[in-house]
Amino acid sequence: MTSKTNNIWRTRLKRFTAPIPLLGWLLGALGAVILEHVAGDPFSELLGLPKIPVLFGALVMLKKPLLIPSVFFYVLVIYGMPLALVSRWCAKPANWASAHMLHFSKPFSVLIHLALLYAVLHAWSDLSAYRLLTLKFTLIAVMLTLSLNVINGYMGEFSCSHPGFMALGAYVASTFSLSLFVNDRLFGEALLPAGLGPFLFPVGLILGGLVAALGALLVAIPSFRTRGDYLAIISLAFMFIVKSLFENLEIVGGPRGMGSQPNWANLPTVFVWTVLCVWIINNFVQSTMGKALNAVRDDETAADAMTVNTRKTKMVGFLFAAFWAGVAGGLFAHVLRYINPGTFGIQRLAEMLAMVYFGGLNSVYGSIMGAVSLSLLSEALRPLEILKWIIIPLLLILVMIFRPTGLIAFREFNVGNLIKPKKTTRIED
């Protein structure tokens, strides 16, 4: 009986959402965040909430369980209603617009979608500094997870050195901006006018990425002659070496770390870098050259016999992933505006691995999904303090039991499919 009603609701929901293209959803989300801007404050006051629920009310619910109904009501009215209604009302024009944009040019259509997505994120994060910070860290987590997935998923090795690469990127990028553009206690007077900084910031990030890739080369040379456990051990060692290296380098602050990085990693910057990262990694893993990673993973001998340069393939994959970890590290340093060696330890590694394996191996969708859901979840469960580290691992264990390769594994990220208009098929009652 229950499953039957459940089914009815599911088909209804499917019928309701079927004609809505991505453009429609984005418009719906935009409607929701605009509504929150206009009516969020008075409405939350009306419901007796202390302020607008920052992360969809998760924090409030855990702190004051009595407010749960109000929070539900708030989320339903402010997010749920406009999302459902606007996207449904806009379905027809949105389909029309999607079709035309796609017909005009695919890159153009992609840019429009991204602009809308950015608008939604910007408006949403505009309401609270905490939201903004969470959002930035989530985007950075997407980059880290995706790049780690290139090694652990696409290439099938088990690398533990990602926090190390991230640390290299973070320190290099921080040193770059602190020594050149800021009067700093570690590096003294600024060498270049500070106004130049934001424009040269990408150079610092890329530099950080390159140094991380160089570090990856050091790991790869001894460990890629073998397969399996060796890389895991060597890369784990590398992570600790990097950490203790920075702990002992007084020039970059030693264990106290370095702070007061300029505030250049604003939301547009982080967003653009994340999009670039997803775009480039997705391009790579869908090309025959990138698929060679899969071939090497599934059967190296066969790949070699089919003209695939296996050594180069593995090297490129590993260095490429390390580069993005470095870039993400640079952004991370400029978002948090303080880094110390302890930031890049085993706990960060555990977080990243959890995101990769939770989201799904060998999948861009999976990485995005894993990074976003675990970042938000770990923020949302923050009031539970230590209990958080019981709930999240439990969740991971459940995923491992029921979907051993992760939630969305082995699925290709198809931008064309994502942005195309939905065919409106009329379903007769």
């Binding site: 480039i280 899969n294 599934d298 070699d304 089919m306």
Partner: protein
């Protein structure tokens, strides 16, 4: 000058002499077979020539150039394509991706193309797809191009491996027991495919085979390998009546 020449190839696995003074000459367009009892070292010969193992002694000369010491992918892109005795397919990839992958060494778009999805890369990938589909069509696997290899029946997997080996544009195609484990119907189909690719592509074929039917009907010349040594070489009829061969396969009593 023969297309492929193997001179005095010897290989030791530790103290075990797996192959001893092995010689081979393959002319363009020839079909040759290597037969022998289990454990004779047939697959080792294949692995030595295609670079998976490096021979302890001797030389392998492809079109006048010694290829001993090159890595397998270099040898493969020079024109020695192969299939494997126990299918070695990539379990998470589609049939089409398998065949495209075998043209890795011919990709020219480089990392820039791979990272940024340049128009050049798109053109090249599209051309690659067309070639791959043609090859799949040729081995009778055109209809399954978008399936995952693991879902396919055994015979179809063999065809995919064949198409994949052909995609490397081999000058000599090494087939390691192409009909192993096949039922009589699949066997006939596979023989037909081998004939077809020989006729269409003019490729020389060197195959390991246990089934006399295949060897006798397809091959121009046969070598018999026993304990790593060639004991007999000749056309199918000669081999069939060679007492040494009968001895090796069936034992001393049968010769008398």
């Amino acid at each position: 000058m023969p297309l492929l020449q193997v001179k005095n190839m010897t290989h030791y696995f530790g103290g075990l002499r797996a192959v001893h003074r092995y010689n081979l000459e393959i002319e363009p367009g020839q079909i040759r077979a290597l037969i022998g009892p289990n454990g004779a070292g047939k697959t080792t010969v294949f692995n030595l020539i295609t670079g998976i193992h490096h021979p302890s002694e001797g030389s392998v000369i492809l079109e006048g150039e010694n290829i001993v010491g090159l890595r397998p992918h270099q040898i493969a892109s020079r024109g020695l394509g192969r299939t494997f005795q126990n299918l070695r397919l990539w379990r998470h990839m589609s049939v089409l991706e398998h065949v495209k992958m075998a043209r890795y060494s011919r990709l020219t778009y480089g990392l820039t193309g791979a990272f940024f999805g340049t128009p050049k890369r798109n053109r090249e990938e599209e051309a690659l797809e067309v070639t791959a589909l043609e090859l799949l069509e040729m081995v009778g696997a055109g209809g399954i191009a978008h399936q995952n290899v693991l879902q396919l029946p055994y015979g179809a997997q063999r065809r995919v491996e064949m198409a994949r080996a052909l995609a490397t544009e081999p000058k000599v195609l090494f087939l390691d027991e192409p009909t192993a484990g096949m039922n009589p119907e699949e066997l006939l189909q596979m023989m037909e495919i081998i004939r077809l690719i020989h006729k269409k592509m003019g490729v020389a074929i060197f195959l390991i085979e246990h089934r006399l039917k295949v060897v006798m009907e397809l091959c121009h010349s046969i070598q018999t390998l026993v304990f790593g040594e060639v004991i007999a070489e000749g056309n199918p009829l000669e081999i069939q009546n060679n007492p040494k061969v009968i001895d090796a396969y069936l034992g001393q009593d049968m010769v008398e």
